[in-house]
Symmetry: C2
Subunit: 280 residues, 2 copies
């Protein structure tokens, strides 16, 4: 099914071939869940977009986010299912040849409404099988944390497996420290402590990751954020991946390693709060 599209507020399907997102990946994106016809965590996604724009030196024109909010309202009129996925792309806009952004850049806003991906119920109930990617993330990267349009490393990683039984791939840096998965952040639990990689040097800081860290603080779950070799994650009691669309998927196995506690109480209680409306 084709997505429903608004480009700068208008229903269009094409953009200028001089757009810098096409030439350089010069822009940002957000992927937002719509559940029960409601846009989830829109304000938080907007805050990240704004932070990313600042990092890239993209000067958002006045009322830019308000206009995206109106685009979303408009596009939601065409929503026919209670669940869907919104993708927002912010591009620096058209330019000439060369990396220097044009002095008066016309920042582009693209809002796309996609059908909800029907992930199997087993992913939520029995957990997923995860591949260990050979493709490593370059680190340290000046682009760490933000959700920008330079995603070739993740595309290379995602091409490492074709087996449809594998739902995700883990990505490390060259030193073998676990960073994230191709489309999600990772957590694990050992002796009732919740662990997740520090993302100061590379990786994308997910909105769902933040939400889980906030929930953990509220429920007085002890958390450690740091640099960990993949082996540390493999030695955990239980593990899961998360993102704004999927919610939480427990991990059943990583490569040849199986976890015994897919239904670990911390995962179960977090999943109860997060997965509910996402389940097929």
């Amino acid at each position: 099914m084709k997505p429903i599209i608004r480009i700068n507020g208008l229903p269009q399907e094409h953009i200028s071939v001089t757009d810098r997102a096409l030439h350089y990946g010069d822009g940002l994106f957000e992927t937002i869940a719509i559940l029960d016809y409601v846009v989830i965590d829109q304000a938080t996604h907007f805050t990240r977009l704004q932070r990313g724009a600042k990092r890239l030196g993209i000067l958002l024109p006045p009322h830019f986010l308000a206009k995206i909010a109106l685009d979303i309202e408009d596009i939601l009129k065409e929503l026919s299912e209670p669940k869907a996925v919104l993708k927002i792309i912010v591009s620096r806009g058209s330019g000439g040849r060369g990396y220097a952004p044009p002095v008066a850049a016309h920042i582009q806003r693209i809002v796309m409404l996609y059908a909800w991906p029907d992930y199997p119920l087993e992913y939520y109930q029995q957990g997923i099988d995860v591949h260990i990617c050979q493709t490593y993330l370059a680190s340290p990267s000046i682009l760490a944390g933000i959700k920008h349009l330079n995603r070739l490393e993740h595309i290379l990683a995602r091409q490492e497996w074709q087996n449809p039984a594998i739902a995700e791939g883990l990505m490390c840096n060259k030193q073998g420290q676990i960073i994230e998965a191709t489309m999600s952040n990772v957590f694990w639990i050992k002796n009732n402590i919740l662990y997740t990689p520090d993302l100061h040097a590379c990786g994308v800081k997910g909105i769902m990751r933040d939400r889980i860290l906030t929930l953990a603080a509220e429920y007085q779950i002890e958390v450690e954020i740091g640099e960990f070799l993949l082996q540390v994650m493999l030695a955990a009691d239980a593990a899961f991946v998360c993102n704004s669309v999927i919610g939480i998927w427990p991990i059943r196995c990583i490569g040849q390693h199986s976890y015994n506690m897919i239904a670990h109480k911390i995962i179960t209680s977090l999943a109860k709060m997060i997965n509910n409306k996402r389940l097929p």
Copy 2:
């Protein structure tokens, strides 16, 4: 002046907003000089494009490069000046949401003809002033060497200076090892030995860099390719940047450091072979 454009052989100015080059930077590019109405080193650029496509797992359909060659022939009919710049973009094409490339991807070819950039004659004769960028290149990177569409690091680096007297910016990795400049490769000379950074861990392997290395071998100039701290380049007798469009620009100063031998004999003899038709 707007570029003249062919998209998949047709004169068009827009591409689908579902194109993966826009969403992820999922593609490659080449920038080629046209001098005296002749496309320079087309075969070499095509070879790099092919190598890059292989690295990214982009399966070029049969006769794809031959079709680009025809696009170039066609677009050159509109050439009104002896000098111009060709840009080729190869994109994986449209896809749905998610990093996995579509099984039957429709690889897109975009050929753009730009006016020749009129760089000042002084750049060639008196050398250029170079900024030292704070923006570092993430390294090691799985994308090292190829000319892909993920160029945010270079855009951030290029935004570090607005002073029009500065023509280029040097980029290092986090360890302070010199890699390249924002749009060019770098060389320097010390005691008649020609030095250039090894690009196995990051950076773009320029066609002009290769040509200079070949010329150096022919003319029995001793060459060292390796990992060097920026300080090593600053302590050189002379230095220059190069790319397929500009040819060779000697460096007059890097930050506060000036070189005494802008007209070093090795630079002068290389420039004689390369810059001739490029001069304003």
